[in-house]
Amino acid sequence: MPSAIRTVGLTKRYDEVAVVKGLDLDIEAGEVFGLLGPNGAGKTTTILMLLGLTEPTAGSMKVLGLDPRRHPLEVKRRVGYLPDAVGFYDDLTGRQNLKFTARLNQIEDPQTRVDELLAQVGLEYAADQPAGEYSRGMKQRLGLADALVKEPSILILDEPTTAIDPEGVAEILDLIRELAVQEGVTVLLSSHLLNQVQAVCDRVAIFVGGEVIAQGRPHDLAAEQVGHARVEFRFDDDAEVALRRLEEIETVDDVIHGRVPGSWIATLDIGTLPATVNRLVSIGSQLTGVRRVDEDLDAIYRRYFEGEEVSA
C-alpha cells in the first residue's frame, strides 16, 4: 500500500520546549489510523503541521505526495479537517455554515452537495436551525459533514468524540468507519480514548510526550505482551471474599480492581489460566465471567499512563 501521509523526524518546538519530537509516521492510503495519547501529547500540533497551519521546526513530511509547507493550498484542498472542539458561526444555520465552506472550496453545486452531506450525517431535521442552538453531538456531526464538503482524500479528525454522549459516540464512529470503507477515504483520528481508537482503527500509534512509543495493529501491539496476561474475573461472591480467594492462588501475581464492582483483574502467566479457573471453582468461587483484557491496548496504555486518569 502506498503512503497517504508520511513524516520523517517531524519536530516542533515552542520556545525551546519540544512538543513533537522526531515523529516518524507512515499512514497507508485507505486505512483508519489512530493517534492515541493523553491531552498535551502533541497530537493537535502534529495535525496542524500536516495541514500546513504550523511550521515544523525540523523534519520532513509528505501529505498525498505534497509538502504542506510548500503547497498548503493543494493539501488543504484534499484534506478534510475536523478540529478539536469545532465551532460554527452561531447566527448562521447548519446549512449556511456548510454552504460557506462549500463556496470556499469552489464546489460547483453547493446546494446539492450540502444537502447530501446533511442527509449522510443525519442532520436534515436541524439543517435550518442556527448552529448556535446545536448540541455538542450535533455540532460534531456537522463538523464531520463540514470536513467532507471538499470530497477529501484524507480526513483528519481531532478528538471527534469528546463531550458526546455514548450513543452519539457510537454513531460517529460508525460513520467514520463507513466513510473509510465506502469512500476509500484515509482517516487520521486522534483521541485520548483507547476503546474508541481500538473500535475503528486499523492501526494505532501511541503518542506520549511528543513521541510515538508504540505503533502497529492493535492486535499486534497486544501480542508484544506474550507471557503475562491480564484477565478479568467476575464473581457472584462478596467482592472482598473473591479478592482473598484470588490472592490465595499461587499462579496469580497481582490483582487490581476491574471495571465493574465485584470484578478483579489479575496478572498471570497465560498458560496457567485453565488451572487457575479450575482452582477458583474448586475452592467454591461463584465465577460468572473470565475475560482477557490485554487483548485490547489497555495494558499498554495503562503501562504508559500509570497514575494518569485513563477514561476508557
Binding site: 503512503s3 497551519l53 509528505k62 493550498l73 479537517y81 465551532g87 460554527f88 460557506f100 463556496r103 472550496n105
Partner: protein, 332 residues
C-alpha cells in the same frame, strides 16, 4: 514528490490552480451579510438616522432664517454640514467625526478574536484559501458597510436640504462632498484597522472593544494637553514673540499625529470654501488679504498633507493587523 511509494495526485489535474485567489470574496460576502443582519448595524443605523435628521432639520431651519440676508454666499448648500444651530449643539461634520471612531471600532473589534472564541478559526484556515484572504475579506466587508452607511447619510442630508432649502447643490459642492465622503470612509477605516489589529492581538472581544475606544477617548479628550506638553518639550514657550510662535507651530505639527485632528481639519477645509488655512496665520499674513472663496483645487491644496497622512496611517493600521495575523499561530 518523486517517491514512488507515495500517493501523488497530479497538481495539473485540478481545475483550480494553486495561486487562485477568490477566497477573499467569499469571506467578504459572508462578513457583509453578517454585518447587515447584525443587531449592532441596525442600532447604529437608527442612531445615525435620528441624529442626522435632528441636526439637518435644525441646520436647514437656521439657514432658511439667514438666507434672505445671505445673497453673496455661494456654497449655501454645504452650510448644511457645517452650521451650528440651536437646539442641536454641533454641526453635522463634528457629529460624523465623533461617531466615526465608534463605527469603525464596531465593525472591527471582534473580527479575528470572534472567530477564535467561536472556534471557527481553525476550520476556516484549513480551507483552501490563503490566510491573507481571510483578513482581506474582513477589511473589505467592513469598509463596504461603512461606505454605504456614510453615503446614505450624505444623500439623506442632501435630500432633506434640497427639500427644505430649495437650493440645489452646484457641481463644485457635489465634488467637495464626494471628496469629503472618501476622507470620512478612510477615517472610519483607520479605526476599523486599529480595532482589527487589537482583535488579532487580544483574545477577548471585550478587551479588543475597550482598547481602541480608550485610545479614541484619550486622543479626543486629552489630545490637546498631550500635544501641548510634547510641543513644550520640543520648542518651549519662552515668552518672546518668536518663542510663542515656534511653540504654537510645534503644537500644530505634533497634533497632526492624531487622526481626529487630521480629519477635522480636512473636513473643515473641504466643506467650507471660505477656510483658507489649517494652521496658524499671523496678522501680517492676513493683512489686506482679499476675502474670497477658494475653489476645490485650492482647498485640496491646503488639506493635501492631512489627507495623505490620514491615508498613510490607515494603511499602516491595516498592514500591522495583516502582518500580525499572518505570523500568528492558529492556536494562540
Amino acid at each position: 514528490m518523486t517517491d514512488p511509494d507515495v500517493v501523488t495526485e497530479p497538481v495539473a489535474k485540478d481545475p483550480r490552480p494553486e495561486g487562485s485567489r477568490g477566497g477573499w470574496r467569499v469571506v467578504a460576502a459572508k462578513e457583509l451579510a453578517d454585518h447587515l443582519y447584525s443587531g449592532r448595524f441596525i442600532v447604529l443605523l437608527g442612531v445615525l438616522g435620528i441624529a442626522t435628521a435632528a441636526a439637518v432639520f435644525a441646520a436647514s431651519g437656521g439657514i432658511r432664517d439667514i438666507a434672505p440676508d445671505a445673497e453673496g454666499i455661494t456654497a449655501l448648500f454645504l452650510k448644511l454640514f457645517t452650521v451650528t444651530v440651536d437646539p442641536v449643539p454641533f454641526p453635522l461634520i463634528i457629529f460624523v467625526s465623533f461617531l466615526a471612531p465608534l463605527l469603525g471600532i464596531m465593525f472591527g473589534f471582534d473580527s479575528v478574536n470572534g472567530e477564535r472564541a467561536q472556534g471557527t478559526l481553525p476550520r476556516l484556515l484549513s480551507q483552501p484559501i490563503h490566510r491573507d484572504e481571510v483578513i482581506l475579506g474582513k477589511f473589505v466587508a467592513g469598509i463596504s458597510v461603512i461606505a454605504v452607511m456614510l453615503t446614505a447619510l450624505v444623500l439623506f442630508v442632501a435630500g432633506i436640504g434640497i427639500f427644505r432649502l430649495g437650493v440645489t447643490p452646484s457641481l463644485q459642492e457635489i465634488t467637495r462632498l464626494f471628496v469629503w465622503l472618501i476622507l470620512a470612509v478612510v477615517y472610519v477605516a483607520f479605526w476599523q484597522g486599529l480595532a482589527t489589529l487589537v482583535s488579532v492581538r487580544t483574545s477577548r472581544a471585550a478587551t479588543s472593544a475597550l482598547v481602541p475606544v480608550g485610545i479614541w477617548l484619550v486622543l479626543a479628550l486629552f489630545g490637546s494637553f498631550i500635544f501641548g506638553a510634547v510641543a513644550g518639550l520640543i520648542s518651549p514657550d519662552d515668552g518672546t514673540d518668536a518663542g510663542v510662535l515656534a511653540n504654537a507651530r510645534a503644537q500644530q505639527a505634533v497634533s497632526q499625529i492624531s487622526p481626529i485632528n487630521l480629519f477635522e481639519q480636512g473636513s473643515t477645509v473641504l466643506l467650507d470654501p471660505e477656510v483658507r488655512a489649517t494652521g496658524l496665520l499671523t496678522l501680517e499674513q492676513v493683512d489686506r488679504a482679499v476675502l474670497s472663496e477658494l475653489n476645490l483645487a485650492q482647498s485640496l491644496g491646503i488639506v493635501w498633507p492631512q489627507m495623505v497622512f490620514l491615508i498613510a496611517m490607515t494603511a499602516a493600521m491595516f498592514a500591522l493587523a495583516y502582518v500580525s495575523f499572518m505570523k500568528q499561530e492558529v492556536r494562540a
